[in-house]
């Protein structure tokens, strides 16, 4: 019983952590290029809606998933336009994006409330799912979870070992040096912003296509903000984002399971747990490594280089 409880809890942690993982990876990519995007919540909302609408109208969940990413990137392009083309304040633009995204999704999504669309269902990966313990936790999930497993190492390699990845990081760390080396800072920042928006949109689409097969207003329910916070917890590193997202997802699933198991702890206290943990972890993270991992020029606009 306890073993089953632990396995199902951990499997639930992976599932409820996955949308946050996508969004966190997206924000890491964006911030690595030097652009702070606080509009993740809005991007996820739009991604969730676009994914659902596309899946409902084409009948293809995979197309829906991609549409979610594409529309997330489209909304992020607004942020890029404001901050990269006109050097507007990144904090203000990001906040505006959250409000715009949530409002737009509510408005456009109203006719889709309560409708059904095809989505992704869990399936066991051959061979891997037979590994004891790990198989039940990690390899009895849906396709989008498996894709997220691949994105983490790919992004890790991209940022560390590829020319594009290094240039993108340079744009975020030291734009002047980048310009001196003939790197187009604006181009790489666009890349980070759009790529980040795409991943954020995928995270949103996960909510409406795999987590549930429904669209509702306010579907992301604050998960975008948690992603922004987890970037700091992860020290801007993809592999730590994985840990953070699953930890957060785990605490969220844990409090519901604790209630189901019949605890007498008031549910209000339990519901605070994930958020209290977020604050605690960020304090701990910044205390141990004060800001050292943050891209030096994060949030600082640069003159467009042409």
């Amino acid at each position: 019983m306890t073993e089953n409880f632990a396995i199902s809890l951990l499997a639930a942690a992976v599932q409820s952590g996955t949308p946050i993982l996508y969004a966190t990876l997206g924000e890491i990519l964006c911030e690595k290029s030097g652009v702070l995007n606080l509009g993740v919540e809005g991007i996820m909302m739009i991604g969730a809606l676009a994914g659902f609408m596309a899946a409902a109208s084409t009948g293809s969940p995979l197309l829906g998933f991609l549409a979610g990413g594409a529309c997330g990137a489209l909304l992020a392009a607004v942020h890029g336009w404001v901050c990269l083309s006109f050097r507007g304040n990144q904090v203000v633009s990001g906040l505006a994006l959250t409000i715009l995204g949530s409002g737009l999704a509510d408005y456009l999504g109203t006719p889709f409330v309560g409708r059904q669309a095809p989505g992704f269902d869990p399936f066991a990966l051959p061979l891997l799912s037979r590994v004891p313990l790990l198989g039940d936790i990690f390899f009895n999930q849906d396709l989008l979870v498996y894709i997220s497993y691949l994105i983490v190492p790919l992004m890790w390699i991209f940022l560390r070992n590829t020319r594009w990845g290094l240039s993108l990081r340079c744009a975020g760390e030291n734009p002047d040096a980048a310009v001196a080396n003939g790197i187009s800072v604006t181009a790489y920042r666009w890349m980070g912003t759009l790529g980040g928006g795409f991943l954020g949109g995928l995270g949103g689409a996960y909510l409406s296509l795999a987590y549930t097969h429904l669209w509702s207003n306010g579907l992301s329910a604050g998960r975008g903000w948690i992603a922004v916070a987890l970037v700091i917890f992860a020290f801007w590193r993809p592999e730590r984002a994985l840990m953070g997202a699953y930890l957060f997802g785990g605490v969220m699933a844990f409090q519901l399971r604790l209630q189901a198991a019949g605890t007498s702890i008031p549910s209000s206290i339990l519901l605070m747990l994930p958020y209290a943990l977020t604050i605690f972890v960020i304090v701990l993270a910044s205390w141990r490594r004060p800001q050292s991992a943050m891209p030096t020029s994060l949030g600082v606009n640069v003159e467009p280089t042409e």
Binding site: D106, P111, G114, T212, L214, A221, L256, Q259, A260, P266
Partner: protein, 353 residues
């Protein structure tokens, strides 16, 4: 120039005439807290509106997805200004905005759902959903094998607690050893959280799930796991064709039509309307074929008894969760006690905090 003036004047007369014709219709407005969609709380109210719209000489309109608070006041005020005769506001948080507007428009009748305030031209109304919950609890009690039933619930307020208690008493009527486990989500509508809560109940062995939530996510979870589910608000069988056994549903239509008739005749009174099964405001949806005929008959017999007033659900002997006797035989809870219920009956596992 003269022609133009003639044109203008005739146009004015025409439009005034049109306005007169329009104002002869009895206008009824509805304010909803969520989008109508095709299931859930607001959808159920909108079915009621459609029933009203069929009445001769009555025109209806609605505004959906109106946030509680400032927005609501603006929307209600707008309806009152446009000359609506009767306005239904269908969410608890609309209570004070409705009252505020009602004071400004003494000739318009306002009806607020699920609150407790009244004024000279404002009444409130609700349904005894707990009666339908009791019946669905009977179905759950008859169908469970693990004797664990999961209840995904929104907020620990009297309305929800009352429903859980009535459901549990219904379960125990058929299956005295069964328990009802409650998980609070603290949201009326968040499919992702609702589904996760449902899964957590499945993991502790629940084989029938029910909900006091507005999305069908709980039904979806039951369907995927291959266990049974019981719907709320409206018949949710289309979301979980195999899992869905029965649903506790709202039928606002007859009540709304009655109110419209009363206001038109001038017999309407500003009071609290709390109707139940007898008036048909709450009921259960048709039961699935998986529910044995004997159980169906028993449920329908109890439904009749409640409707006839022969069976009181919250009657003694009744103990609370901790085993403390709350009612001795022969006693029953009053409406006032029901409206303020904050404790669980015996058999519920969970906390009301």
């Amino acid at each position: 120039m003269k022609k133009l003036a003639v044109c203008l004047v005739s146009l004015m007369i025409l439009s005034a005439g049109l306005a007169m014709a329009a104002s002869q219709d009895f206008q009824v407005g509805f304010v909803y807290v969520s989008p109508v969609g095709n299931a859930g709380w607001s959808w159920a109210h909108d079915q009621g509106r459609l029933a009203v719209a069929k009445m001769p000489g009555v025109k209806t309109a609605y505004v959906e997805a109106v946030a509680e608070g400032q927005d609501a006041e603006r929307v209600i005020l707008n309806m009152a200004r446009k000359g609506y005769n009767l306005i239904f506001t269908t969410s608890y948080g609309y209570m004070d905005p409705t009252l505020k507007v009602a004071r400004k428009f003494p000739h318009t009748v306002f009806m607020h759902c699920s609150g407790f305030k009244t004024a000279k031209n404002m009444g409130n109304y609700f349904g005894r959903m707990y009666q339908a919950r009791y019946l669905t609890g009977m179905v759950a009690g008859a169908m469970t094998k693990s004797r664990i039933i999961g209840y995904v619930a929104a907020f620990p307020i009297p309305e929800v607690i009352r429903g859980i208690n009535a459901f549990t008493l219904g379960v125990q009527r058929m299956n005295p050893a069964a328990q009802v486990r409650v998980v609070w989500t603290k949201t009326w509508y968040d499919p992702a959280t609702e589904k996760e809560a449902a899964k957590s109940l499945l993991d502790v062995g629940a084989d029938v799930l029910t909900q006091h939530q507005d999305s069908p996510a709980v039904q979806e979870a039951a369907q995927e796991k291959g266990v049974y589910s019981i719907g709320y608000n409206s018949d949710m069988s289309k979301f979980a064709p195999q899992a869905h056994l029965v649903a506790a549903v709202w039928h606002w239509g007859p009540f709304y039509r009655e109110m419209v008739t009363q206001v038109r005749r001038g017999t309407w009174k500003p009071k609290a309307y709390w109707y139940g099964l007898k008036k048909g405001i709450v009921d259960i949806s048709p039961m699935a074929k998986t529910v044995p005929a004997a159980v169906q008959q028993k449920v329908m017999a109890v439904r009749q008894a409640i409707s006839d007033g022969k069976l009181k659900i919250f009657a003694g002997p009744l103990s609370d969760q901790a085993g403390k006797v709350r009612l001795t035989a022969g006693q029953a809870l009053t409406d006032k006690q029901l409206l303020g219920m904050t404790w669980f009956v015996k058999g519920v596992v969970g906390s009301t905090q």
